[in-house]
């Protein structure tokens, strides 16, 4: 998949994205993160019902050459985890913003969204790298 950063997403400096839909959001890792990792071999999802805190690590994504921490862009309660990743973790590489989604949460503090980066700011961050 070619490098891309969808306009309608919000971004976290640790290379995670959030798709906000009202008081719920879906999280994942960006193209940059999956590219750095290489082919993903394992994703151990957190449990449904557990609480995430903004800026804290909530899971790990493992590739052949690295294990990467996944940071929560926003705080909330996990409603759903992407079970399809157990059989097909490489979805995170092939479709990081679609089939490669990680968790869906109910936001506990929607105002946190304001602190996240928009696509321009995130691209700037990558440039300054």
């Amino acid at each position: 998949m070619a490098e891309s950063y969808p306009e309608d997403l919000k971004y976290h400096p640790e290379h995670d994205w959030a798709r906000v839909e009202g008081d719920e959001a879906v999280f994942g890792i960006t193209w940059y993160a999956q590219d750095a990792l290489g082919e993903v071999v394992f994703f151990d999802p957190p449990t449904v019902g557990s609480q995430l805190t903004k800026d804290e690590v909530y899971a790990e994504v493992e590739s052949v050459k690295a294990v990467s921490d996944v940071f929560a862009p926003l705080s909330g309660e996990i409603l759903e985890v992407n079970e399809a990743l157990a059989e097909g973790p490489e979805k995170i590489n092939h479709d990081p913003y679609g089939d490669g989604w990680l968790v869906k949460v109910r936001l506990s503090d929607p105002a946190e969204v304001d602190v996240l980066l928009d696509v321009t700011a995130y691209r700037d961050l990558l440039q300054s790298g």
């Binding site: 290489g38 071999v41 590739s63 052949v64 490489e90």
Partner: protein, 522 residues
């Protein structure tokens, strides 16, 4: 397909060679009264089904493992410039000495009175290592370098505790070998990274910032993993000691400085040696090794138990050696018995063979060889693709960056490494240290001839020239090895870590029809 029928045949495991009824072992005859197993052991303890070990005859065992051995590249056949590993020649004398029954057949709990040769060898090895390190008190117990590192931090912890202090952090440079931070966590400390300055040395300002009284230790190697001698080491020691912390020396790079400079003189409190690097213990495909430590007087009381002690020996009397288990402030035991004695035999033989002069010469030539190879690889046609990471005299190893080859030729360091395999040499260490992009860490060691260094430099040049013409060749390499690039992602996604015994693994059909991703359950 390769048109080589042997190459196109899949490998077979020893379990797949097994056929019911074949055997290599015959038990000695029963010379005591026969009693049924059920009369001695309770039913609940008796195994229902024997372990599914193979049933094979001796010729098949020999042929199977000999065939496997032919698929290994090894040091006795070729150049192995793995940075940080010190792949120097393994002297053949050492195998003969290690196999002597007085060494190989000696039980670790033999009465010390009947193990005087072994204890004396250990004592003498300790003395030699202490002299090389410039720190007099030695323990041979740790089993490997990382075990020695753990010992060093446990000693540090005991030292601080003894002084009534609790410290929580350990500093490591960002160029540190992966074992260093892993060890820090196992020893119950928090890792704090210290930056590297543009000249490749420890960033003193960053160190001063981070060296607080909460720091227990700074772990360093000198020369560092960039192959550079840190010229500020005296000041580093002052900063670290100034806050009451210990200074730990990772001995991975000791091969650069034997007889030339001593870690103890540089200010280090604790040093570990890698006997499988600097002191020729054969790597054995991954192990065994040994990681003895040398420490300063103030750390000595905490050394592991037992310690080898020498009694008498003055005034012409025969010295006696014993094991001292009574060490009240010791951190205790790190492992069983006294350590990897078989490794001590080889290392001691090496030290005896070289002597003080020879050890110094080994380091001098190691540094000479590295600088020569670095100069050859700095020639036109190579340097623009593999620029050296730090343009200064290196010690026993140096680091190149493959970013030039990646950007200009489209071949990454990984591809260069794989193509080197086709040239009959082992590639250097790749992608370490993390500080350097597309890193290649090269350590030729002192036992290579100038011609072999030239051959390696020529091979690198040839690969780059080839890549300029057609980068696909390197990207698809290797071609001449027993297998080509392997699916490591698949191996991690669906790990198959043992032979499945579901069907009879000894059936010829099974060897052909193996499912690729069979789970390894019993």
């Amino acid at each position: 397909m390769s048109h080589d029928p042997r190459r196109d045949e899949d490998t077979v495991t020893i379990y797949e060679r097994s056929r019911a009824g074949r055997r290599a072992f015959t038990a000695p005859e029963l010379d005591v009264p026969d009693v049924a197993v059920e009369e001695i052991l309770p039913a609940a303890a008796i195994r229902r089904r024997p372990p599914q070990l193979p049933e094979v005859s001796e010729p098949e065992i020999v042929r199977h493992f000999t065939t496997l051995s032919s698929k290994n590249f090894h040091l006795d056949e070729g150049f192995y410039p793995l940075g940080s590993c010190t792949m120097k020649h393994n002297p053949k004398l050492h195998e003969r000495l290690a196999a002597l029954p007085g060494h190989a057949r000696l039980h670790p709990l033999q009465d010390p009175e009947h193990a005087q040769g072994a204890l004396e060898l250990m004592w003498r090895l300790e003395g030699a290592l202490g002299e090389i390190a410039g720190l007099p008190q030695v323990s041979l117990q740790p089993s490997a370098g990382s075990h020695g590192e753990l010992a060093g931090l446990l000693l540090t912890r005991a030292y601080h505790q003894d002084r009534g202090e609790t410290r929580t952090k350990v500093l490591t440079p960002d160029t540190a070998h992966g074992t260093n931070p892993a060890t820090v966590t196992m020893a119950g400390y928090e890792v704090v990274k210290v930056g590297t300055s543009p000249d490749g040395e420890v960033d003193l300002d960053d160190l001063r910032d981070k060296a607080t009284e909460d720091v227990a230790c700074l772990m360093l190697t000198n020369p560092n993993t960039l192959g550079l001698f840190d010229t500020n080491i005296a000041e580093i020691a002052e900063i670290v000691h100034g806050v009451g912390a210990t200074l730990y020396y990772d001995g991975a790079n000791l091969n650069a400085v034997m007889g030339i400079a001593r870690p103890g003189d540089m200010g280090f409190d604790i040093v570990h040696f890698n006997l499988h690097k600097t002191f020729t213990q054969p790597h054995g495909g991954g192990g065994p090794g040994a990681g003895p430590i040398a420490v300063s007087e103030r750390i000595e009381p905490f050394l592991p138990t037992p310690q080898v002690v020498r009694h008498g020996g003055d005034n012409g009397s025969e010295p006696r050696f014993s094991l001292d288990h009574d060490r009240p402030r010791s951190i205790g035991k790190l492992r069983g018995f006294q350590g990897n004695f078989g490794v001590f035999v080889r290392s001691y033989a090496y030290i005896c063979s070289l002597g003080g002069d020879g050890l110094r010469e080994a380091s001098e030539v190691a540094v000479l060889n590295a600088n020569y190879l670095k100069a050859r690889l700095a020639e036109q046609g190579v340097a623009e693709y593999l620029p050296v990471a730090f343009d200064r005299t290196c010690m026993h190893e140096f680091v190149l960056s493959g970013r030039g080859a990646r950007d200009k030729l489209g071949v990454k360091t990984l591809d260069l490494a794989k193509r080197l395999l086709d040239h009959g040499v082992h590639p250097p260490t790749v992608y370490f240290p993390l500080l350097v992009e597309e890193a290649l860490m090269i350590e030729p060691t002192e036992t290579e001839t100038k011609e072999r260094l030239d051959h390696f430099a020529n091979a690198v040049r040839a690969i780059l020239e080839e890549a300029a013409e057609d980068p696909e060749i390197a990207r698809g390499a290797p071609y001449t090895t027993p297998v080509r690039r392997l699916d490591e992602a698949g191996a991690a996604k669906r790990p198959v870590v043992r032979q499945g015994m579901g069907e009879n693994p000894g059936s010829p059909e099974r060897a052909k029809n193996r499912p690729a991703g069979a789970a390894g359950a019993i």
